[in-house]
Each structure stands twice: as structure tokens, then as C-alpha cells.
């Protein structure tokens, strides 16, 4: 019996077109992915590497929830749907036979359908090298096990688990809608775990509980290097096993429950609502025949129609909001909205204050995805509502004009959208209230929600409305509507089509800032919204023409009807829509393409290649160097433009005669520049050659510059923004919060920074692969130029800046004078002494907070914080950061070269802080609005301040040469310096949390490396090396050889290299020599491991026990394993050296709390031991009761699994 039902199920399914449609979709997707090679693999990883395949399979299995619900939800429901249950169950079959037959039959079909993807992948990958969308060498030969293993472990397990859920739900409740809603809910639950997984503290929990094991898998492979990703597979072991056991077990459990609970009789009983039957209402027996039907007045008027429109719309709104599917998704969406806002926007794990723009931005996290799904589905429901309940014939013959019905449905969706938009407001305000933030900026809420977001939802509706009007069947309508969007997303994210003009509903991104409000984004948003609304309205009207009323769906009659509806007013509306659509389209195109030179991604890459081929000949040609700069900047923030004049004294420091001046403006972008005048020693220069495409100009000097010749160059440039671009913030000059630097002016000569760097891209354009951007440490050119700017060595600086009368403008230097003239504010700044060629111009409506720092020798530094008036929250932390940094750095590195230190807030269009001489611009979103109320959260604003102050020494005093590794001298040193200041301020326990984050970022960085990882001494481009690894290594080094000891080396280095006036400028060789000098021979291994090699530890506790001795002391036994491995840049294992390493072994008591309220570890014993690779045993006797023990418990070494270094002690059994 089971066999028969099983076989029937499979046969039945194989004849259904849906089965093949599902198979086909997966197959098609697999083919596209396979041939294009667009898989989750970075450049150095095979597109069909085992990890890429496994990753894709688990991602597909998540989307497969829908597939599971569609296939496993219906086998039992089918008998209800087709009303066959009444006789089918009367056959001599048992419940278990029936259920198991249907279940296993459907499951077999599900497994079969799911294989469409793998089959297609295998075919696709074998064709990939022929099509060459990706280079042929990125396709590894076929290895079937790479498909089979993850299919069994991840893919099918997930399908099975999800399938069991849906099968159980429908069999036990008879409600197929629950299966669909269940699918959506499961999907949502899944997104929650992904959100949680963002916090590294929850990694283990996520690994265990992730129903689809994508997170589990991700956590296992996240630190795998390209080499490992190419060769290794995730074994079914460890936490992955437990995860699989849990979810597979849950699936089986549900299946068995179904099996035992299912009962034909119960299944057959109709679900009458369990309300008690009221006694039939008083049956006054009126003879129906005696009643006359009263005569009534019928009115058909415009006013009534309007009322009807409204009433029908409200009725439809009611219908929508009563829908369980709507409610389920809606609740989930609002929950996301709320929790995203609640947990959102941490920086370094520290939360931010609930600023209104944050509350608004969460709408684009998960909410918009769910709302989008709601809109697409609800539109279908609404347009097919009457047909769905077969009320369409009665409804269709009612005397309501077409426009009223169609319009009411549209209006209903608009009303629902408005309601959905307001959820953002409610959730936002609620969040703010609950967090005790009462600065409600309703203006910002209303503008963003009603003027920007609401029209966007309407644009979504319009397309769905069009599709469902044209397609008269609901299901194909949904499929088509979703297919259109998938196609659009695909074009955008896979095919790199990013012109918002061609992607329905798309518009440029925008950022709201407290400083600059909605800034200049309003204009482009207005035009894009208008453009797409017109397009949507056009579609909606077309939809109206073909919208089906009645029963006739023949093509001929629908065209006939459409012609009938195409009356003058409709034609007029259509014409208006087209006119607005085309008109705004032209205007947008004029702005993005004509004014702002929109280029596709490919054009951009091709342009970079051409730049190198055309202009590479000028690389490193001799150009004069700037020695003195005078700037006069007239800012017009109101118009987003400026005119800047610079006078620069140039010296030919080379040994060659220089006959021409090369001005490199960079490829044209939205920040337009116009050269107004250019003179050398008062005489105009003649343009020799111009490469418009690259913004490269060559001028002939009127008189060639002999070595050591000095000339005065004067240049006036207008810069500003015109119209709006397709994308991009254009944040250099804004209404409030202008910030640009010396890059406003062209640089001299060719710059290698504009070249393509990806090996793959370079091969494609037949350029030689370039391993390093910078020359080695012995290179003469490298040694004679500075890292940050090869147009100058050290310079002197003076400038005048003018701005809007209500703004305050800042440049490096000491304020000499400020005045008002012609209704503008003027500020005159002058630097004392020398600085590297790096200055900024900033202007905004600032409040200024002033403090003073006094050094040990009585020297004083003015601390000035230029901030947005309402952003006073964390000023004390900034000030404290500056003060503590100056304390530490003046003590250990030497005097501060200036008498002032200024921190300047700029709008949150980007998130960084940057150190200019005595001036640090600091982004609005980077600490100004951080919420530091929990002392256990990282005080990153203090930390970053300290880092930027450290650059005054490491960068501005010691400005390294343009050679490999030089970035380490500025960045790793600044990172080290801030770590030391922080350690002093917050103690060693605050460090671990931070170092673990650094470790995570370093390991993730190297795992995604697209070239090869470089060493600290040679790294020239990899920020995860200079910040993350650099910080970790320097921290470990000071721990090993002593902080004071190491600082004496740095002091010596500063003494010998600060403000070095002449080449050869300093390199990592010099830096490393100083470090080496203070490192004892026994610990040199650490320097070699860390600076010259790529070294990873694998330290862990194998076993740790304690027992109480008779004298009240405790004996602790610790078994540890320590392995050290050397890797090459691709992550290939080179060697496991056997020399002993000097590592921390420690025993801890119960966690304590320090004065700041932070949780701290309580070491009972901590000592460094020479630990041999392999297993080692340690035994200690301690006085206090031990709780935890471990090896390298503070995670000072680079270790891919830092969490197993410290474990809880168990009491030893005798």
C-alpha cells in the first residue's frame, strides 16, 4: 500500500508542470552561475572551489524554503483542494501508509527537483572556461565529492528539515496558507539569526542554532585563506554535527508527531468555528410573500462615485489587513524595524544614540524587503480578489464605472503603503522614547517618509499593479512580478548595470545628516521619483486598459475592450505620463551623463587601463617640488562651489632639467574643476597637451627649470558641483559641513594610484601583473619621495579662507585674524615650522569647545573641538583622548610640534577620521553620537582620537618614504600608540575585547585577499595588515619585551628621523632596526615571525583541572597544545617550526569589576613560559580558588580560534 501511494505520488508529481518549472528555475540559475563563474569566491579562489560550492548550496537551500513549502505543503492538502478526501479515505488504506507514501514520495520529488542546481552547476562550470566570463584558470577540474558531501550535509538536510515542517503543518491543520506563511516566517527567523551573527560574541550560539547551517559553515571557513578555500572541505565534525543533529532531529520529530497524530476522521471533519451555536434568532414568522420590495431611489453621480471609490478602497484595505499572510509578514516586518533600530548602528560593538536618521535608515535593512514582498503579493491579492472567491461575475455586473473599481484597488494599496510608511515613524519614536532620547525631529521623519519613501512604495505598487492587470491569473502574475524584480536586481548586482535611469524604481542613494540635513540630495531624488512615478502611472493606465472585468479573457476581446476604454481622457493621461517620463528622463540623463560623466563599471575599468597605457610613460618623471604654500579659498557653501587660489614656491630638487609641468586632475567626476589662471613667476603657461579623459595636462615652462631652480606658481581654480550624478554623495562642498583637502588642486605628474590593481583585471587588459604599488626599500625614487605626497617634501603653509557669514572655516595653522568683508567671514591661518604637504579646508556652522593641556614642562596646547551645536554628547571623551595622548606621547616620543590640536566634525557621508597637521576632521557618525553609557563597551572615540593624535608624531613628524612597508610606520605605529594610551586609561581587560575584534578583522581580511598577503615590512596596500595585524603585533611585542623598552627604541627613531629634511627618507628597514636593537636575542624569533613572515598560532587548552590540597591551597593542572605555523601570502602552509615560544600561561579567579564599572579578569597567576609546539603540561599551586586557566588568555598571539585558549577548570577526580 505504501509502495502504491509512493509510486503514485512520484508519477503524479513528475507529470505536473510545476515540478519541472521548479527544476527548471534551479537549473537555469545554476547554469547562469556556472557559466558566468559568479560564485562566492574571491579572485584567488576557484569559482568552483569546494567552499564556494558548499556556500552556494546552503544559500540556495535557504531560498529553497519556498520550494519545500510548495512541494511538501501540498501532498495532503491536495485531497482537500480537489475535494477528493471524501472518497479517497474510504478506500482500504491506513493513515500511516497514506502519510508515509505521500511524504516520502514528495520528499523524493523535492530531492530530485533540488538536484537541478547541482547538475546545472556541473554543466555550467564545464562550459565556463569556454565562455570566459571568468578566466579559464579560475575553473578547477570537476570533483564530484565537492558536490555530494555538501549536498548530503547541508543541502538535503535543510530541505528535509524544512519539508518536515510544512508537511506537518498542513497535515495537522489542513491550512495550506500556514505553509506559505510558515515559509515566510522561517525565512524571517533565519534573517534574525543572521543579524545576531554580526556580533562576534554570539558566534558559537549561532553556529549551533542556525537552522540552515550557513552561519555555522561561515564561522568555520571565515578565516580560511584562498589556498585553503581551494583545497579544503568542511568535515562533518564538531559543532556542525550538533547543528545537523538538532535540526534533522527536529524535522524527524515533527514527522513522527504527524504520523501518530494524523487521523482520517479528524482530517475530514470540517472546521466549523467553535463558537457556541446561538439559539436561532427569534423566528417571527413573517410570510415572505406578504412583504413588498420597497421602491428605491438610485443615484449615479460623480459625487457618489467619489464616495464609492473611497468606500471600496476602505473595504479593500480591510480585506488586506485581515489577511493572515499580511499580518504575519507585517508583524515580522515591524519587529525587524524595531529591533534593527534597537541594536543597529554599533561602532566597534558600541551602540549609537537613537538619532532620527538612524531610526529612518533601518527601513532599508530588512523592513523594505518584507514590505516589498507584501506589496507585490498584496497587489496580486487585491486585483484578483473577486475572482478568487468567484464573486467576479456579480461584482462585474454592478453599475460601478471601471475607473472606480480599478482606482479603488489602487487607492487601497496606497492607503496600506501609507500605513506601512508610518510604521517607521512609530517604531522610531518608540525606540527613542525607550532609550530616553526626546529630541524628536518630526520634520526629518515626515520629509523622509512622506516625500521620499512613500512615493517609492507607490512605484513598487504600480509595477505590480500593471503585471496583475495584464496577467489574469494570480499565480502566474506573482511569478512574473517577482521575475521582473529578480531580473532588475540581477542586472544591478550581477551584471553591474547601475544606471538608475534603466532600473525601474531605482534612484541614487542619499544620506541624512544632522549637520547638513537632506542636503543636496533632494533635487536628484525629486527627479528620479518623478521619472519613475510617471513610468509607473503610465503602466498603471495601460494596465487599466487591459484590466479584466467580467469573464472574457480572450486576447481579441481584451484588445477590443482596451480600445473601448481608450477614450480621450485616458489618451490624454497616457500622453501626460509619457511626456513627464521622457522629459524627466532627458533631464536626469543631462545631469548624470552630460554634466556628471556617468560611466558604467566596465567603462571605469577600461578607463583605468587606458590611463596606464597612455600615461604610464610619465611615471616618476622629474617634477619640481613644493616648498611653500599659500592658499586663498573663497567658499560658497550656499552654491556648493569655491574659488581657490594657491601660490606655491617650487624647487627643482632633481638632478635633471625640467621643461614641463604635468598637472594631473584625475578623471572627471562630479566635483568639477575649472582652471581660471596658471602662471609661473607671473607669466602664463602654455598648454602643450591635454588628455581630457584622464584630466591630464602638460604645460611647458617658459624657461626650463635647472636643478635647484626656484619658481613661484600661481593657480586659480573654480571647483563645484553641477546638477546631480547617478550616484555618489558629492560631499566635498555641501551647504553645511564642507571638507576637502589639497587634492582639490591637481598633483604633479603621473600617479600609480589610478591604475588597476586586480591581477585579473590587469591580465584582461594585457597589463603586467603588479605585485607591489611601491618600490622596495632601496629604490632611489622611493627613498627620495614621501609616502603621502610626492609633490613635496616638507613645506611651510599659510592661508586665508572665506565662507558664508554664519559659518566658521578652518585650515591648518594658527588663527591670525578673523574678519567680515562683503558679507563673508574671513579667517587667516598660518603654520609655524614645517609640515608635510597635506592640508584641509573645512567650513560649517560650528560651536567651539575649548580646553587647555599643560605638559610636564609647562608647555601648553589649546584643544579646540568644532562640533555641530547639538552634538555635545561625547566632547569630554574627545578632549580626554587628546589630553591623555599628549601626556603619553610627549613623555615617550618627544615634544608635540604644535601649540594647538583641533577636532572638526564633518557630515556623515563617510565614516572616518583623518589627521592633518594639528587638525583632525572626524565624521559625524564616528563617535559624536556614540552611546558610551555601558562601561564594558569600547570607548572607540577615545581610541580613534588617540590614533589621530599619534599621527602627529607618526606621519607628521616622521613622514616615511614612498617605499614598501612605509604605511606601517604611520598606521601600525599610530595604532600601537593608541593601544598604549588606551591600556593606560582603561586597563588590560578593555584591550582584549578590542584585540579580538582586530584579530577577527585581520583574519577576515586575509581570507578575502585577492592578491596575496604581504608582510608588515613590505605591505603597501593592505589596510587589514597595517591596522589590524600591525596593532596586534606591536601590542604583543611590547608585552614581550616591555613597553618602556620598546618606547625607547621609538624615541630613538623619532630623534633620528623626525622632519628629516632630505632624502633618503625613512623606511621600514630603519624602523625595524630600531625595534631589533631593543629586542633580546632570545625573543628575536617573534620579530621574524611577525614582521618578516606570516605566522599563525593554534593555542588551546586540552584539559584543565584543579584540586584542593590539605593546606587549603589549590593545585592546578593544565594540559595545553600549541602549534605555530608559517604560511605564504596565499595562505599555503609552509612549515611548522619546532622552536619553543614564549607564551602566557595564566590562572584566574572570579571576574571582578574595576573603578570604571568594567568587568575584569582576576589573575591569580600569570607568567610567561617557553612552550614547545605540541602538547605540554603545567602544574601550579595557588592560594586562591581558581576558576579558569589557559594559554595566551588575553589573545595576544594571532590564533584562528581564540576562544579555546581559556577554559573553566574542573575539579579533578581522585
Amino acid at each position: 500500500m505504501f509502495k502504491e501511494i509512493f509510486k503514485f505520488e512520484i508519477k503524479y508529481r513528475l507529470k505536473r508542470p510545476a515540478t519541472w518549472a521548479y527544476f527548471g528555475i534551479l537549473f537555469l540559475f545554476g547554469i547562469i552561475v556556472g557559466i558566468s563563474g559568479d560564485t562566492p569566491a574571491s579572485e584567488k579562489v576557484f569559482v568552483n572551489s569546494p567552499t564556494a560550492i558548499a556556500n552556494m548550496l546552503s544559500i540556495i537551500s535557504i531560498f529553497g524554503i519556498m520550494l519545500s513549502s510548495a512541494i511538501m505543503g501540498v501532498p495532503v492538502y491536495r485531497d482537500i483542494e480537489h475535494k477528493t478526501e471524501n472518497y479517497y479515505f474510504s478506500y482500504p488504506i491506513t493513515e500511516k501508509g497514506y502519510l508515509m507514501g505521500r511524504f516520502f514520495g514528495s520528499m523524493a520529488v523535492l530531492f530530485f527537483v533540488s538536484l537541478g542546481f547541482q547538475i546545472a552547476l556541473i554543466i555550467g562550470f564545464s562550459l565556463g572556461p569556454i565562455f570566459e566570463f571568468e578566466p579559464a584558470d579560475r575553473f578547477a577540474p570537476l570533483n564530484l565529492w565537492h558536490y555530494i558531501q555538501p549536498t548530503l550535509v547541508l543541502y538535503w538536510t535543510n530541505f528535509f528539515f524544512a519539508g518536515c515542517i510544512f508537511f506537518a503543518i498542513v497535515s495537522l491543520t489542513k491550512k495550506v496558507m500556514l505553509a506559505y506563511a510558515g515559509g515566510a516566517l522561517l525565512f524571517i527567523a533565519y534573517l534574525v539569526t543572521l543579524t545576531l551573527a554580526q556580533d562576534i560574541e554570539n558566534k558559537n550560539l549561532v553556529s549551533l542554532l542556525d537552522p540552515f547551517a550557513l552561519g555555522t559553515y561561515g564561522n568555520i571557513i571565515e578565516y580560511w585563506t584562498p589556498e585553503e578555500q581551494n583545497t579544503r572541505m568542511v568535515p562533518l565534525a564538531g559543532i556542525l554535527v550538533w547543528n545537523r543533529v538538532i535540526w534533522l532531529g527536529l524535522g524527524l520529530l515533527l514527522f513522527f508527531i504527524t504520523l501518530f497524530r494524523f487521523d482520517f476522521q479528524r482530517f475530514l471533519n470540517k472546521n466549523y468555528s467553535s463558537k457556541k451555536k446561538k439559539k436561532t434568532e427569534s423566528e417571527e414568522d413573517v410570510d415572505p410573500a406578504s412583504i413588498a420590495i420597497p421602491k428605491v431611489q438610485k443615484v449615479f453621480s460623480g459625487a457618489l462615485n467619489f464616495k464609492l471609490l473611497w468606500n471600496l478602497a476602505l473595504l479593500e484595505v480591510k480585506n488586506i489587513t485581515r489577511d493572515n499572510f499580511f499580518r504575519a509578514i507585517f508583524l515580522a516586518a515591524v519587529a525587524f524595524l524595531f529591533f534593527d533600530a534597537w541594536f543597529g548602528f554599533p561602532v566597534y560593538g558600541t551602540p549609537s544614540l537613537p538619532m532620527t536618521y538612524y531610526m529612518l535608515e533601518v527601513k532599508d535593512f530588512t523592513y523594505v524587503i518584507l514590505i516589498f514582498i507584501l506589496i507585490v503579493f498584496m497587489t496580486g491579492e487585491v486585483l484578483h480578489r473577486e475572482r478568487g472567491v468567484r464573486y467576479d461575475q456579480i461584482f462585474g455586473s454592478l453599475p460601478i464605472p471601471n475607473g472606480i473599481i480599478y482606482g479603488s484597488k489602487f487607492l487601497a494599496l496606497v492607503i496600506v503603503s501609507f500605513f506601512l510608511v508610518n510604521m517607521v515613524l512609530i517604531s522610531g519614536v518608540l525606540n527613542q522614547v525607550m532609550k530616553g532620547y526626546f529630541n524628536f525631529e518630526f520634520g526629518m521623519y515626515f520629509t523622509d517618509l512622506y516625500l521620499i519613501e512613500f512615493p517609492r512604495y507607490i512605484i513598487f505598487i504600480m509595477l505590480a499593479f500593471f503585471v496583475h492587470s495584464i496577467v489574469t491569473k494570480k499565480f502566474p502574475g506573482h511569478v512574473l512580478a517577482i521575475a521582473i524584480w529578480v531580473f532588475l536586481f540581477g542586472l544591478n548586482s550581477l551584471a553591474d548595470v547601475n544606471n538608475n535611469l534603466y532600473l525601474y524604481g531605482y534612484s541614487p542613494g542619499y544620506t541624512i545628516s544632522d549637520m547638513n540635513g537632506f542636503g543636496h540630495f533632494g533635487e536628484s531624488l525629486f527627479w528620479f521619483r518623478t521619472y519613475w512615478l510617471a513610468c509607473g502611472a503610465f503602466l498603471t493606465f495601460i494596465g487599466f486598459l487591459f484590466w479584466k472585468r467580467g469573464t472574457d479573457s480572450g486576447r481579441k476581446s481584451r484588445f477590443q475592450i482596451a480600445r473601448g476604454r481608450l477614450v480621450t481622457s485616458t489618451v490624454l493621461l497616457l500622453v501626460i505620463c509619457i511626456a513627464v517620463f521622457v522629459g524627466s528622463g532627458f533631464y536626469i540623463n543631462y545631469n548624470t551623463k552630460t554634466l556628471n560623466k556617468y560611466a558604467t563599471v566596465d567603462q571605469g575599468t577600461a578607463g583605468q587601463a587606458e590611463y596606464e597605457k597612455t600615461l604610464g610613460q610619465y611615471d616618476r618623471i622629474a617634477q619640481p617640488k613644493v616648498v611653500d604654500v599659500y592658499v586663498k579659498a573663497d567658499l560658497m557653501p550656499e552654491e556648493r562651489s569655491t574659488t581657490v587660489t594657491t601660490k606655491m614656491q617650487l624647487v627643482n630638487k632633481s638632478n635633471e632639467v625640467i621643461d614641463s609641468l604635468h598637472l594631473n586632475w584625475g578623471a572627471p567626476n562630479s566635483f568639477h574643476k575649472e582652471l581660471k589662471s596658471l602662471t609661473v613667476d607671473g607669466q602664463e603657461l602654455e598648454l602643450g597637451k591635454r588628455h581630457d579623459k584622464f584630466g591630464y595636462e602638460i604645460y611647458a615652462f617658459n624657461e626650463a627649470l635647472q636643478p635647484q631652480d626656484t619658481v613661484m606658481l600661481e593657480m586659480t581654480v573654480w571647483g563645484g558641483f553641477k546638477g546631480f550624478p547617478n550616484e555618489g554623495s558629492g560631499s566635498s562642498i555641501v551647504y553645511n559641513g564642507t571638507f576637502f583637502n589639497d587634492g582639490f588642486f591637481p598633483s604633479f605628474g603621473y600617479s600609480a594610484q589610478g591604475e588597476l590593481s586586480s591581477d585579473q583585471d590587469r591580465r584582461e587588459y594585457e597589463l603586467p601583473v603588479k605585485d607591489y604599488q611601491l618600490p622596495d626599500q632601496q629604490d632611489e625614487w622611493g627613498l627620495s619621495n614621501l609616502l603621502f605626497n610626492d609633490d613635496a617634501d616638507y613645506i611651510t603653509f599659510e592661508g586665508v579662507v572665506s565662507t558664508a557669514p554664519d559659518q566658521l572655516a578652518i585650515m591648518p595653522g594658527y588663527l591670525q585674524k578673523e574678519w567680515e568683508e562683503n558679507g563673508r567671514k574671513y579667517y587667516h591661518y598660518k603654520m609655524e615650522g614645517e609640515l608635510d604637504f597635506f592640508y584641509n579646508v573645512s567650513s560649517a556652522r560650528y560651536d567651539v569647545h575649548r580646553e587647555l593641556w599643560t605638559g610636564k614642562d609647562g608647555e601648553q596646547v589649546n584643544i579646540e573641538i568644532f562640533h555641530h551645536p547639538s552634538h555635545k554628547y561625547n566632547i569630554d571623551r574627545l578632549v580626554n583622548g587628546v589630553q591623555k595622548s599628549l601626556d603619553y606621547f610627549t613623555e615617550y616620543y618627544g615634544p608635540y610640534q604644535y601649540r594647538q590640536m583641533r577636532i572638526i566634525e564633518f557630515p556623515r557621508y563617510s565614516t572616518f577620521a583623518q589627521s592633518f597637521p594639528n587638525t583632525v576632521p572626524f565624521a559625524e557618525s564616528f563617535g559624536w553620537v556614540g552611546d558610551f553609557s555601558d562601561p564594558n563597551d569600547l570607548d572607540y572615540i577615545f581610541m580613534v582620537t588617540s590614533h589621530e593624535v599619534a599621527h602627529q608624531w607618526w606621519g607628521h613628524q616622521i613622514t616615511p618614504s614612498a617605499t614598501r612597508g612605509s604605511n606601517q610606520i604611520s598606521e601600525s605605529m599610530a595604532e600601537y600608540s593608541s593601544l598604549m594610551v588606551m591600556k593606560k586609561e582603561y586597563g588590560i581587560d578593555a584591550m582584549q575585547d578590542f584585540l579580538k575584534r582586530e584579530l577577527d578583522r585581520y583574519l577576515t581580511g586575509r581570507a578575502g585577499e585577492s592578491k596575496f598577503e604581504k608582510t608588515l615590512l613590505d605591505n603597501d596596500t593592505q589596510s587589514y595588515v597595517w591596522y589590524r595585524k600591525g596593532g596586534l603585533i606591536m601590542y604583543g611585542l611590547q608585552d614581550l619585551i616591555g613597553e618602556e623598552n620598546l618606547n625607547t627604541a621609538f624615541k630613538r627613531y623619532i630623534d633620528s628621523a623626525a622632519f628629516r629634511p632630505k632624502p633618503p627618507f625613512t623606511t621600514t628597514t630603519e624602523w625595524y632596526r630600531h625595534i631589533n636593537e631593543v629586542t633580546p636575542d632570545s625573543l628575536r624569533y617573534y620579530l621574524e615571525d611577525s614582521f618578516e613572515n606570516i605566522t599563525l598560532y593554534s593555542n588551546k587548552v586540552e584539559n584543565a583541572t584543579y584540586k584542593e590540597l590539605d593546606d587549603g591551597t589549590y593545585e592546578v593542572s593544565l594540559e595545553v597544545e600549541s602549534i605555530k605555523r608559517y604560511f605564504d601570502g596565499n595562505g599555503k602552509l609552509l612549515e611548522e617550526p619546532t622552536n619553543a615560544n614564549y607564551l602566557d600561561i595564566a590562572i584566574f579567579g572570579e571576574d571582578g569589576q574595576n573603578d570604571l564599572g568594567m568587568t575584569t579578569k582576576t589573575p591569580i597567576l600569570i607568567e610567561k613560559q617557553w612552550v614547545k609546539p605540541g602538547k605540554s603540561k603545567f602544574t601550579y599551586v595557588v592560594n586562591d580558588k581558581p576558576l579558569k586557566a589557559g594559554i595566551d588568555p588575553y589573545n595576544k598571539m594571532i590564533d584562528r580560534i581564540p576562544d579555546d585558549n581559556l577554559v573553566n577548570l574542573e575539579e579533578a577526580e581522585d
Binding site: 420590495i293 485581515r322 453599475p399 467580467g550
Partner: protein, 295 residues
């Protein structure tokens, strides 16, 4: 007022010709539309009810061009489709009130009176507050009738209205229809011949999309009067009779097979005359056509 259908043709996109050159004139009063399943009755009614396009031909109702001026038709139309659904979670009272407002009855008081009287008329008064989803088949059908009668329609189209009604309800409904039918056009489709002969002054028989007979039921019956013969036969002989003469119907009576034959003369002595009724007319028109269509 008079409904005039002239040379109406309709072919569906799947190639089925549902209406072939249909011409009918329907005056005030009840008009019966008879025909087997798939004859085109519903297609014709849907076309009159503005739910469907015609390929050619015309329909006029008084001075209204039904195919073009749909909205004017809808203002005076009451339509009960053969199959229809309801919003399961709405009560019949609320639904009727809603439909009444959609039919242009904007005065609240009037609407209330109307809905209440219709609920009484259709014997739904005691369940007026129950949601439609809980209605039995007969109750749902009565609801359908009630909604069709809203708004004083001048043209009522009811497609198999008595399907699913018990005999008492059926009688009640017939009374209601004939009461209304005095000064409106009521088009009633059914396969129950008796209903037509009892209720209608005019009728038409449609078969395979064509009008095969039209007129007054009595006149039509008269045309075959004296030509109908019947005989009780053995079941196995049926085929032989069918080959030899025009057997228009067979039915069982007390276990015996009775055949009706149409013929100007008595086929043979074993036949006896049968008083002609509308059913004989119907089968006389239908049987041969259906059989030839099947071949």
C-alpha cells in the same frame, strides 16, 4: 422595454463557437432559456450582463446599446450567475447593504428597508448576521437571488437559479420571480423544462450555440401536438428503435423503459398517443442535433 438580440456571434479563444448567429426578441415578462449543458446559455446571458464581448451582432435594450454602453445596462441590471462565490467573512446583511450602495442606492434608510425586505423575501432573515462562509448551498443561492433583485432592476438575468433549492424554496422563488416579472424583463435559464412551462410567456431553446426554437411555450407545444407517440419497450431493443424511428426521449416508469417518438403518423400499432408537452418539444429539438454533433 424590449431586449433585442440580433445576429450575435462569439467564438472563444480555444476555438469553441459559443454563439452562432443568435437573434432573439425578449419583451417584458419571464423569458425561459432552455438548453443542454454547454449549449451557450451562460455565454448568452453573460454577454447580456456586460461581462463578455461579442464578436459580432448587436444587443439593444430599449435605446441602450448593450455591447457599447455597458454602464447604462449595469444601472438597471440584476444578475445571478450560475456559479458564484461570496466573501466568506461578511454577513449577508452587510454584503447586501454594500451591494445596494454600489447599485446607487445612496439613501441609508431606503437601503435598510430594501435589504430587510429582501432578506425576508428570500427567507434569510434569521441568518442575516451570520457570515456568508457558513451558509449552506441553498442559503447561498437565496442570497444570490436577493442580491440580483436589489435596486429595482429592469432587466433580471438568472442563470439556473433554483439549483440546490428544496422544493418549497423553489416554489417560493418562482412566485417571487413571476411577481417581479410583470413589468420587467426576466431571463431565466434552466434545464428544468417544467419550470419554463409553468412560468414563462416566452422562451427559446438553444443548442450548440444556436437558437433552435423560440416562442410561447404553449404554441411550441401545440406544434408537436398529435405527433408524439409512446411505447413501453424492453431495454435491449432501444437501439433497434433508435435506428428505425426518431426516438426523442426515453425514461423509466415502474421499471419499464418508455420511449417517446415523434412522427406525423403512428409508427406502428404498438404505440399509443401521448399528450405533447414542452419536454417533448425540447427533446425533439435537442436529441437529433446532439447525436449528430457527437458523430
Amino acid at each position: 422595454m424590449e431586449l433585442k438580440i440580433e445576429n450575435l456571434n462569439k467564438t472563444y479563444s480555444n476555438g469553441v463557437q459559443a454563439l452562432k448567429d443568435v437573434s432573439l426578441t425578449i419583451p417584458n415578462g419571464m423569458f425561459g432559456l432552455l438548453g443542454p449543458n454547454g449549449a451557450g446559455k451562460s455565454s448568452l446571458m453573460r454577454t447580456i450582463a456586460t461581462l463578455q464581448q461579442a464578436d459580432s451582432g448587436s444587443i439593444t435594450l430599449g435605446d441602450i446599446d448593450v455591447l457599447k454602453d455597458k454602464s447604462r445596462v449595469r444601472e438597471i441590471l440584476g444578475y445571478l450567475p450560475q456559479e458564484f462565490g461570496v466573501y466568506p467573512k461578511v454577513s449577508s446583511y452587510n454584503m447586501l447593504d454594500h451591494i445596494a450602495s454600489l447599485k446607487g442606492i445612496s439613501n441609508k434608510g431606503e437601503r435598510k428597508d430594501l435589504v430587510e425586505s429582501l432578506l425576508t423575501k428570500t427567507n434569510l432573515w434569521h441568518v442575516k448576521n451570520k457570515s456568508l462562509g457558513t451558509y449552506s448551498g441553498g442559503m447561498k443561492q437565496r442570497f444570490g437571488i436577493a442580491q440580483a433583485l436589489i435596486g429595482d432592476p429592469q432587466l433580471i438575468i438568472v442563470d439556473e437559479p433554483t439549483a440546490g433549492l428544496d422544493p418549497a424554496e423553489r416554489v417560493r422563488f418562482h412566485n417571487l420571480l413571476s411577481e417581479i416579472g410583470e413589468n420587467t424583463i426576466v431571463i431565466l435559464s434552466t434545464h428544468i423544462v417544467e419550470d419554463v412551462s409553468n412560468l414563462c410567456h416566452n422562451m427559446a431553446i438553444i443548442c450548440l450555440g444556436e437558437v433552435v426554437a423560440k416562442g410561447n411555450p404553449a404554441d411550441l407545444t401545440n406544434q408537436v401536438a398529435g405527433k408524439i407517440w409512446k411505447k413501453a419497450i424492453d431495454r435491449h431493443q432501444l437501439e433497434d428503435y433508435k435506428n428505425e424511428m426518431q426516438v426523442i426521449s426515453t425514461h423509466l416508469k415502474a421499471g419499464q423503459t418508455i420511449i417517446h417518438v415523434i412522427s406525423d403518423d403512428k409508427p406502428d400499432a404498438s404505440f399509443e398517443t401521448s399528450s405533447a408537452n414542452l419536454e417533448d418539444v425540447y427533446f425533439a429539438e435537442i436529441t437529433s442535433r446532439m447525436e449528430s454533433a457527437l458523430v
